[in-house]
């Protein structure tokens, strides 16, 4: 792994991937007015004949995508994470239930979205889509990994939901290391046997930062970028349970139903180690800069550090 560098937002990676995917004539892109924000506009500019604009009407977009999938297309439909939720039952009944391969992307996920305020900050999307049978749920941490994982969706035979983030975060990968990523397999960014930090999205760089501080205190942490929330890499978690003294999860999402819940559900079957979840407690966000909000919500690298220390004490 290369040292983290200033990169792009994961939504930029999604947009770049769509452009590359255009080589496959089956790929179509659906928009609900927010293409400039989700970055599907890059595909639109290059391939207007394969881009379908559906206006501010997410329920319709989801089922139009389903119809196109049933007719041999590979649809990528996107809007803000929060607005995909308006079509949740459509995803459940119209896409996943018949097993149609539609790839839904929700950008601007989490409180990291910032000043738009709580109406735009989805903190429940991962939980929602995780409950749907057969659905793959992905939340990449930077632009390069978002691009790689989106490219892999071309050959993914299940419907999926990918959450991307609005703002830039430090790159966890470079052009070479991102090629090792695989949907459904967590990525180890750092090795340590005292404790394991499992993070997703914008919290991955916070986890790395936390691990560096912990190291200076003599605590060595494994850091995992769990970019795929479902199917969860249970093999990797089992290994962490064997080798580490505890697990801290970190996500820009409600602690109810997201990555932390998924990890805890699995460990509840196997048993073994204490778990602490760093995430948004059962509350809504508000307007503010991302850093301010992360502080307010208790989802900074400092919160990860104190959770690790609380387990080890």
């Amino acid at each position: 792994m290369s040292a983290p560098s200033t990169g792009g937002a994961s939504r930029d990676g999604y947009g770049s991937a769509l452009l590359r995917l255009a080589e496959d004539p089956r790929v179509v892109v659906l928009e609900a007015d927010l293409g400039k924000s989700t970055k599907s506009c890059l595909f639109r500019e290059a391939n207007p004949e394969r881009t379908v604009s559906l206006g501010i009407a997410e329920q319709n977009m989801v089922l139009v995508a389903a119809g196109m999938s049933s007719s041999g297309k590979i649809p990528f439909a996107s809007t803000f994470a929060i607005f995909t939720e308006r079509g949740f039952e459509q995803v459940r009944n119209g896409v996943a239930r018949p097993g149609l391969v539609v790839h839904l992307c929700g950008s601007h996920g989490g409180i990291h979205t910032g000043t738009d305020g709580s109406s735009a900050q989805s903190i429940e999307d991962l939980a929602l889509y995780r409950t749907i049978p057969g659905m793959t749920v992905i939340h990449p941490c930077d632009d390069l990994s978002a691009e790689e994982l989106t490219i892999q969706l071309l050959h993914h035979d299940r419907p999926s939901y990918t959450r991307t983030a609005r703002n830039k975060t430090p790159r966890m990968y470079d052009e070479v290391s991102c090629k090792d990523l695989k949907i459904g397999k967590g990525s180890r960014l750092r090795e340590g046997s005292d404790i394991a930090i499992i993070a997703c999205g914008v919290m991955v760089s916070e986890a790395v930062k936390a691990a560096e501080v912990l190291s200076s205190k003599g605590i060595e942490a494994t850091v995992v970028d769990m970019h795929t929330i479902k199917p969860l890499d249970t093999e990797l978690i089992d290994d962490l349970v064997e080798t580490c003294g505890g697990i801290v999860t970190a996500e820009d999402h409600s602690v109810i139903g997201g990555l932390g819940s998924a990890v805890a559900e699995h460990v509840s079957y196997t048993g073994g180690v204490p778990i602490r979840m760093v995430g948004v407690s059962d509350r809504f966000g508000e307007s503010g800069e991302p850093e301010e909000l992360m502080e307010l919500m208790g989802i900074t690298h400092g919160d990860i550090i104190s959770s690790c220390e609380s387990i080890l004490s």
């Binding site: 179509v28 394969r50 389903a66 196109m68 297309k73 459509q90 119209g94």
Partner: protein, 278 residues
């Protein structure tokens, strides 16, 4: 069978006989299941018989043929109407049909493309079918295919906002191969549509959304056939047939009776119905 290669089309009288046989299947399978939706199946069946009898291009031996016409039954609770015609066309056998709603049956409570050959859409949640049909129509155009997409909705169903999202989008995208049939039987689950929330002049509403619309008597086979032909040949804009129908048509005690929206006939009612449908 590729129905597109049929040597001769069915006559109006043959279509009526086909619809009558389907009515018998509908009542029998709902009776056998002890549950189901006879009212909306019986109101829709004349249009469905005319579509499958003369219009739709399909291949029973290759139900997933890419270039088949699509029939999207958005009012998925009227599944017995679909299963009756699929049986008549040879997609499913009698045992399948009569196992309606039983565990493991290919004939699920609501039509489901994952379970039944010949079913193009997984319905059950109202208001979604027109959007799905629009997706099929847009994909067909991208593929330069002349396959037609038929969508049937109920009138209570169009209370769903998504239906109007799709209606607006179909006009915007000039989805000329998209053909809508509204089964205007005036009754929904709880009561008459005018009591629950009247949908008003559906034809005028669709016209104002840019659709070409015709209104017909949905039980008059000449009018049904003519309207289907008109709709199939008009390919520059989406078309809608607003079919005025009678819920429970053909069985006197079910006709215009909200209680038979979703209730199975008992043994005695089955006997009476079979007597009337002969």
């Amino acid at each position: 069978m590729n129905s597109g290669d049929r040597a001769s089309k069915m006559t109006t009288s043959q279509l009526r006989e086909l619809a009558l046989r389907c009515r018998r299947h509908i009542v029998k399978m709902i009776h056998a299941a002890g549950a189901g939706h006879p009212g909306g199946s019986l109101s829709a069946i004349d249009m469905i018989a005319a579509l499958y009898g003369n219009q739709l291009r399909f291949d029973v031996d290759n139900p997933n043929w890419d270039d088949r016409d699509r029939f999207i039954m958005s009012k998925g609770h009227a599944s017995p109407a679909v299963y009756s015609i699929l049986f008549e066309m040879g997609f499913i056998d009698e045992e399948d049909m009569m196992s309606f709603r039983k565990m493991g049956s290919v004939c699920q409570g609501h039509v489901d493309m994952k379970w039944t050959d010949g079913v193009d859409f997984s319905a059950g949640s109202l208001g979604m079918g027109l959007s799905f049909g629009l997706g099929c129509a847009l994909a067909a155009r991208m593929d330069s295919s002349d396959r037609n997409i038929w969508v049937m909705v109920g009138d209570g169903e169009i209370q769903e906002g998504q239906f109007w999202e799709a209606a607006m989008a179909a006009d915007f995208h000039s989805a000329g191969r998209l053909n809508l049939i509204v089964d205007r039987n005036r009754i929904q689950n709880d009561d008459f549509v005018e009591v629950q929330m009247e949908v008003g002049d559906v034809a005028a509403k669709l016209s104002s959304f840019g659709w070409d619309v015709r209104e017909i008597d949905g039980h008059n086979m000449e009018q049904v056939s003519e309207a289907i032909l008109w709709s199939s040949t008009k390919t520059d804009s989406p078309t809608a047939i607003v079919a005025h129908t009678t819920k429970g048509k053909g069985v006197s005690f079910m006709e215009d009776n909200p209680s038979f929206h979703g209730k199975a006939p008992n043994d005695k009612e089955l006997e009476m119905a079979m007597g009337e449908l002969s």
